[in-house]
Structure formats: C-alpha cells, structure tokens
C-alpha cells in the first residue's frame, strides 16, 4: 500500500495550489479595498510562499534529474 501520487503529480498539485493561493492573496489585498475580510493574511501569505517554494524545489529536482540523465 502506498500513496497513488507520483512525484510529478505532487509537483503539479503544488503548482496549481500555489497559483490559487497567490491569486487569492493578491485579490484580498487591502490595497483593493478588501479590509473587512476575516482571515489572517500574514498566515495565508506564509502558506502561499511555502507552497510556491516547494513547487520551485520540485522543479529544481526535475531539472537536476534531466541534467544528470544527459
């Protein structure tokens, strides 16, 4: 028994989630007048950045794999 998601699947999931989170973060910015939304934006920002970073790490791993198989 193992998780039926490959490394590539997880990378794709991270990319989609990171985009959704970053767009949400931008749209809920007080600069656009959203000052009454009951969420902790700092925490949302941290999560969005961590997910984006994790995606970038998976990309680096992919690139590294491509280079060493050349």
């Amino acid at each position: 028994m193992q998780l039926p998601l490959s490394f590539w699947d997880l990378s794709l999931w991270l990319a989609v989630t990171a985009i959704i989170l970053l767009v949400t973060l931008e749209l809920t910015s007080p600069h656009y007048g959203t000052t009454n939304l009951l969420i902790q934006r700092k925490r949302l920002r941290n999560v969005a950045l961590i997910i984006s970073l994790l995606f970038l790490i998976t990309v680096v791993i992919h690139v590294y794999n491509v280079i060493i198989t050349l």
Binding site: T35, L38, Q40, R41
Partner: protein, 271 residues
C-alpha cells in the same frame, strides 16, 4: 424521541456550533473528509481519490490556520471607546480648558511604557519641565494644565508589538517607510496612507479606514476631540512624538465630503 428532548438536543447543537464556530466546523469536516478520502485512495490505489483527498485535507487545514480565533464587531468597539473621550471632555469642562493637547516626548515620562498629553490652561503657555512631571497626578500648577494618558496609547503599543520595534528607537524616516505598510497590510486598518512632512507640519492622509465611525462618534465630545483627537489620530501623534523626540500637537483633522478620506495635520513644537 419526545419533543422536549428534541428541542434540548437542538439547543445543545446550536450552543456547540456557536462555541466552536461555523468556519471551524467546516474546516474540521473538510480535514476529516480529506483524511478519509486519502486513506481510501491508498487502499484503492486511485490517483483521482489521492488528488481529492490531498486537496480536501490541505484546504481544511489551511482554513483552520488562517481563520482568526476571535473577532470583535466594530459596533462593540465604538460603544467602548466613546465614554473615554466623554470623560476627557468632562475633565476639561471642570478645569475650564479649551486648548489643544500637547503630546509629550518620552523624556517626560519615567515609565518607558507610558505616554502623556499635556492640556495647558491657556494658549502659548510654556511646557512643564521633564523633571517636574508627576505622572500620578492629573492636575498641575505652574504651568497650569492637566496631564492625561492619551486615548491612543494602547493602539500605539499594538503598532509597536506588530512591528516588533519600539518607536523610541526609530526616526521619522522609519515611520514614513513602515507606518503605511503596517496600517494597510499588517493591521488592515486603511486602504491607503500618506505621510508627508513640510517644515514643522506632518500631514497624514488616510483613505477609508476602519476607525471612521469611531472618529465621527468621538467628534461629539468637541473639546476632547480638539485637544487629544480620536484614538487613531492620538496613536499616530504618540508614534510621531516618540520617533521625533519632540512635542507634537494635533492641529487640524478634516474629513472629506464622501467621508472616505481623513486628513490630520500634526505640528511639531520646538522646545
């Protein structure tokens, strides 16, 4: 099940929901469902279930993480703030004071955590000497006036706590650079903030801030409002006096016609 027991169970469920919070219930349900789906995906070796489970678990956990634990309605805050200004108004009436309050720099208070505003009895009166200040007393003679704890002191402390830095160790450049970011992004108090200095006057323009109602309400205590300002202008005055290390007074506060923008002018007093 008898009707009374049914009603009791429904009341218990409602009480539990209000205590735990609806958002929390949704988040926990998403999280629980996600974990179950993830387990099933492993048993059935299904990647579709895997994606679904991962998504549900993630969003459930995220919702739990980003939901504020407690929030207070603005109306409650309004109700709590206005009596403080009304009391200042009463004190001013008792001592027959009508001048603008002068926010005193940190050297005037022994306690590092406190801040003081001096309301003189007549215009152009000299400031008291730092060594003559007795923080415990309200009224002082020679120079005549009263010493108050400003209404924005707690808010100014909250600014410091959020920034992680005391304004006493900063300067105006730091305030100009960091205060707008603090008020817009970190505390989500306003949509836009501009702070500019011209000679001895610092003008702060704030667009659509959440204190609009409180500031309008505090205007009813006219003398107190002129002397110490609303809690937000008072907090900014404390920040400025601490960063500049000079006495500051709230000279003018103007609300735009659409009540969206408030412009407050602070005057730096040279000692």
């Amino acid at each position: 099940m008898p009707r009374t027991e049914k009603a009791r169970t429904s009341r218990k469920t409602q009480a539990l929901l209000s205590r735990v919070g609806e958002t929390r219930v949704v988040s926990l349900s998403l999280l629980g469902l996600g974990i179950i789906v993830l387990v099933f995906s492993i048993i059935c070796t299904s990647s579709i279930l895997g994606f679904t489970g991962l998504g549900l678990t993630f969003w459930g956990a995220l919702l739990l993480y980003i939901t504020p634990s407690k929030h207070v309605q603005l109306e409650l805050l309004n109700a709590m703030v206005t009596p403080a200004l009304a009391n200042i108004e009463k004190i001013m009436n008792t001592f027959n004071l009508r001048e603008e309050g002068i926010y005193l720099p940190p050297k005037y208070s022994e306690n590092l955590e406190s801040s003081l505003v001096f309301i003189p009895s007549k215009d152009g009166q000299a400031l008291p000497k730092p060594e003559d200040i007795d923080e415990e007393n309200l009224y002082r003679e020679n120079p005549n006036g009263i010493l108050l704890t400003p209404p924005g002191i707690a808010l100014a402390k909250l600014f410091e706590k959020t920034l992680g830095k005391s304004f006493k160790t900063t300067d105006l450049n730091y305030v100009q650079k960091n205060l707008p970011k603090l008020l817009i992004e970190d505390m989500q108090i306003a949509e836009d903030v501009n702070l500019k200095k011209e000679n001895n006057t610092i003008t702060m323009e704030m667009m659509n801030h959440t204190f609009t109602e409180i500031c309008q309400e505090t205007r009813k205590s006219r003398k107190a409002y002129t002397a110490v300002g609303c809690p937000l202008s008072s907090a900014i005055a404390i920040v400025l006096t601490q960063a500049l290390r000079k006495p500051v007074t709230i000279e003018k506060s103007r609300l735009s016609a659409d009540a969206r923008t408030i412009e407050t002018q602070y005057r730096i007093i040279e000692e």
